[in-house]
C-alpha cells in the first residue's frame, strides 16, 4: 500500500483530475455556447441610457446639466439610470442633484414629485420621454 502511493502516483492523479475537470467543463462550455448561439439571434439589446437619447440634440452644446432625482443613488441600490444617462449624453457632464444649472434632467419616481420640484426651482418642461424623464429649463 505504501509503495502504491508514491510521488509519481500522486502526480499522475493530479494530472488526471485536472484532465477530468477540463473535459467536463469543455462539455458544458459547448452546451452553453450552443444555447447562446440560438438565443443571440432573438435577443434585442438596448444601449445604456437609451431613454435619454431624445435629449441629446437639445443639450449637445451644453457643458453641465443638472440631474435631479428622488431615487436611491447609493452605490449598492441605484438602478443605473444616472450612469446610463451620463454614458448616453457624454460629453455633457451630469451634475447629480444640483439644481443650480440652466438645464436640468428630472428622473423622479412619480410625476407629482417631479412637478412639485419644477415649481420650486421655477423651471419649465422642454421635453418628456415615454419613461417620464424630463428635460427642463430654468426660467430667467
Amino acid at each position: 500500500m505504501k509503495k502504491f502511493i508514491t510521488y509519481d502516483t500522486l502526480r499522475k492523479a493530479f494530472f488526471l483530475v485536472a484532465l477530468v475537470l477540463a473535459t467536463i467543463n469543455s462539455f458544458f462550455l459547448f452546451k452553453v455556447t450552443s444555447k447562446a448561439a440560438v438565443k443571440n439571434k432573438f435577443q434585442i439589446y438596448t444601449v445604456a441610457g437609451n431613454e435619454f437619447a431624445d435629449f441629446k440634440n437639445k443639450i449637445s452644446t451644453i457643458e453641465h446639466v443638472g440631474y435631479l432625482t428622488d431615487k436611491d443613488m447609493s452605490p449598492e441600490k441605484n438602478n443605473g439610470q444616472f450612469l446610463g444617462a451620463q454614458y448616453m449624453l457624454a460629453p455633457v457632464i451630469l451634475d447629480l442633484n444640483n439644481a443650480n444649472h440652466r438645464y436640468l434632467i428630472l428622473d423622479y419616481t412619480n410625476l407629482f414629485d417631479a412637478a412639485r420640484k419644477l415649481r420650486n426651482i421655477k423651471a419649465k418642461v422642454i421635453e418628456m420621454t415615454p419613461d417620464l424623464e424630463i428635460l427642463a429649463e430654468k426660467l430667467p
Binding site: L21, T33, K39, E76, L83, D95
Partner: protein, 454 residues
C-alpha cells in the same frame, strides 16, 4: 473590415517590438511571440493615444494615426534585416505541430464571439466607466480633462485610462461607432489571454500540459462571460500572465529580451487599473530582488537583465506616474489618508465578513473546482513554491492577497459585503490565468527532464 484595421496595425507593431526584444533569444515559439505581441501592440497604441491627448490637448485623430504609423515604420526599419530573411524564406521552418496548434487556437474563436454576443454592449462597468470615459474623451475636445474633475465619483475618475485609450484607437477609423471597438478589444484579449497561457506553457513545460492548462482556463464557466464583459479585468489578467511568462523566460532562457518585455508589461499593467499599479510594484520588487541575489547565472548576466527590465519600465511606467500625480483625483473607495481605524470594517467583524465571502466565492460553481485543484497542486509540490524563481512569483501572490485584504478592511462609502460580492469574483478572475500558469509550471518542474516541444 475598417474596424479591424487599428488592431492589425497594433498587432504588427507589437510583433515587431517582441521580435526586436527577443532577437538574441533563440527557440522562442512563433505562438508565444504572437500572443505577447497582441498585448504589447495594443498597449503601445493605447499609450500613444493617451500621449496624443497630452500633446494636442484633446482628441486629434490625424495625430493619433500618424504617431501609431510612425511607430510601426520605426520598428520596421529596426527589423528590416530579419524581415528580408523571412520574405526570402530562409528563416521559416515548417513544423506540422505548429499547424495543429494553430487549428486548436482558431477553434476557440467561435466560442469567444458567440459568448461575447450575449452582451455585445458590455456589462455595467463597461458603459458606466470604461466605454463612457472613451466616448467622453473622444467627444469633449479641449475639455477632455473634465473626465478627472467634474464627473461624478461613481464613474471612478481616478482609474487609469489604458482600456479607454485602446478603445479610442480601436474606433479611430470608424467615427461615430462607439460599440464595435470595445466588443473587439474584449474578444481579442479573451483570445490572447487563453492563447498566451497555451503558448507560455508550451514554451516552458510540454505539449500535454499546454493543452490541458489552456482548456482548464478557457472552459471555466467564469472565463468567457467575464472576459467578454468589456471590463479592464481581462486586460489586467493578460498583462499579469505576460509578466509571469516574461519573468520565467528571463530566468529560463537567460534572456535580456524577456527582461525588457517583463518591464514593458509591468508598466502597461500599472496603467490598466489601480490594482495593476499595486501588482506592478510588488512584482517588480520581488523579481528584481531575485536577479540581484540569484547566483547561478552570474552577476553580469543578472545585471544585464535588471538593466533591460528598467528599460522596459522606462517606456511604459512614466505615463502611469504622470497620470497618478498630475491628472487623477484621490480614490474614494479606500481610506488611506486617515487612520485605518476610521473605517467601520477595520476590525474582527470585517475580517469575518471577508473570510466568509472568500469561502463562498472559492466554492462557487462558476469556478468548477479550480481553486481546490490549485490547492492540491500546491500541496503536491509545496517545497518547490519556495525555491528559485518560483518563490518570487508565489510570494507575489501571497503579498497581493494580503494587500487586497487590507484594502477591503479600509472600505468606506460602500457596504463591505456588497463590495465583496461585486469584486471578489473579478479579482479571482484576473489572477486565475497567472495562477494556472504557475501551478503547471511547478508541476512540470517536478519531472526530471521536462520535454520541450515547440
Amino acid at each position: 473590415m475598417t474596424i479591424s484595421l487599428p488592431y492589425v496595425f497594433s498587432i504588427l507593431a507589437g510583433y515587431l517590438l517582441v521580435e526586436t526584444a527577443l532577437r538574441n533569444t533563440p527557440k522562442v515559439s512563433f505562438f508565444l511571440k504572437l500572443f505577447l505581441a497582441i498585448g504589447a501592440g495594443l498597449g503601445l497604441s493605447s499609450l500613444i493615444t493617451f500621449l496624443s491627448f497630452l500633446f494636442c490637448n484633446g482628441y486629434n485623430r490625424s495625430f493619433i494615426v500618424f504617431a501609431n504609423l510612425s511607430c510601426i515604420f520605426f520598428l520596421l526599419i529596426i527589423n528590416s534585416k530579419q524581415l528580408k530573411e523571412v520574405l526570402s524564406g530562409h528563416a521559416v521552418r515548417f513544423d506540422p505541430w505548429q499547424f495543429f496548434y494553430g487549428i486548436f487556437l482558431l477553434l476557440l474563436v467561435p466560442f469567444i464571439l458567440i459568448r461575447a454576443n450575449e452582451h455585445p454592449l458590455g456589462e455595467w462597468d463597461s458603459w458606466a466607466l470604461w466605454n463612457m470615459k472613451a466616448k467622453f474623451l473622444t467627444l469633449s475636445g479641449p475639455l477632455w480633462q473634465s473626465v478627472f474633475k467634474d464627473l461624478h465619483w461613481h464613474t471612478q475618475p481616478d482609474y487609469p485610462l489604458l482600456l479607454p485609450c485602446m478603445n479610442i484607437w480601436g474606433w479611430i477609423f470608424t467615427p461615430g461607432d462607439f460599440f464595435s471597438a470595445p466588443f473587439l478589444t474584449a474578444a481579442l484579449f479573451a483570445f490572447a489571454c487563453a492563447g498566451l497561457l497555451f503558448a507560455g506553457l508550451l514554451q516552458f513545460t510540454d505539449r500535454k500540459i499546454a493543452f490541458l492548462g489552456c482548456a482548464l482556463l478557457f472552459a471555466l464557466p467564469a472565463y468567457l462571460p467575464l472576459a467578454t464583459s468589456q471590463y479592464a479585468d481581462i486586460v489586467l489578467a493578460y498583462y499579469l500572465l505576460a509578466g509571469f511568462i516574461s519573468f520565467v523566460g528571463a530566468v529560463q532562457e537567460k534572456s535580456k529580451g524577456f527582461g525588457f518585455l517583463f518591464g514593458f508589461f509591468l508598466g502597461l499593467m500599472s496603467f490598466t487599473k489601480n490594482e495593476g499599479l499595486t501588482m506592478a510594484f510588488i512584482l517588480a520588487v520581488l523579481c528584481i530582488s531575485y536577479f540581484l541575489f540569484e547566483k547561478t547565472a552570474g552577476r553580469q548576466a543578472n545585471s544585464s537583465v535588471i538593466r533591460l527590465i528598467f528599460c522596459g519600465l522606462i517606456i511604459t511606467l512614466p505615463v502611469s506616474i504622470y497620470f497618478k500625480l498630475c491628472l487623477a483625483p484621490p480614490n474614494h473607495d479606500i481610506l488611506l489618508s486617515a487612520a485605518p481605524r476610521m473605517s467601520s470594517f477595520f476590525n474582527l467583524e470585517g475580517c469575518s465578513i471577508i473570510f466568509e465571502n472568500i469561502a463562498l466565492q472559492l466554492s462557487h460553481p462558476r469556478w468548477y473546482h479550480l481553486w481546490p485543484l490549485v490547492f492540491c497542486g500546491f500541496l503536491l509540490d509545496w517545497r518547490r513554491y519556495f525555491k528559485k524563481e518560483i518563490r518570487a512569483l508565489f510570494l507575489f501572490l501571497i503579498l497581493y492577497v494580503l494587500v487586497i485584504f487590507f484594502i477591503y478592511l479600509t472600505t468606506i462609502n460602500f457596504s463591505l459585503a456588497w463590495r465583496l460580492s461585486r469584486t471578489l469574483s473579478r479579482i479571482l478572475f484576473y489572477l486565475s490565468p497567472a495562477v494556472i500558469f504557475l501551478m503547471f509550471y511547478v508541476y512540470a518542474s517536478g519531472k526530471s527532464a521536462p520535454e520541450k516541444k515547440l
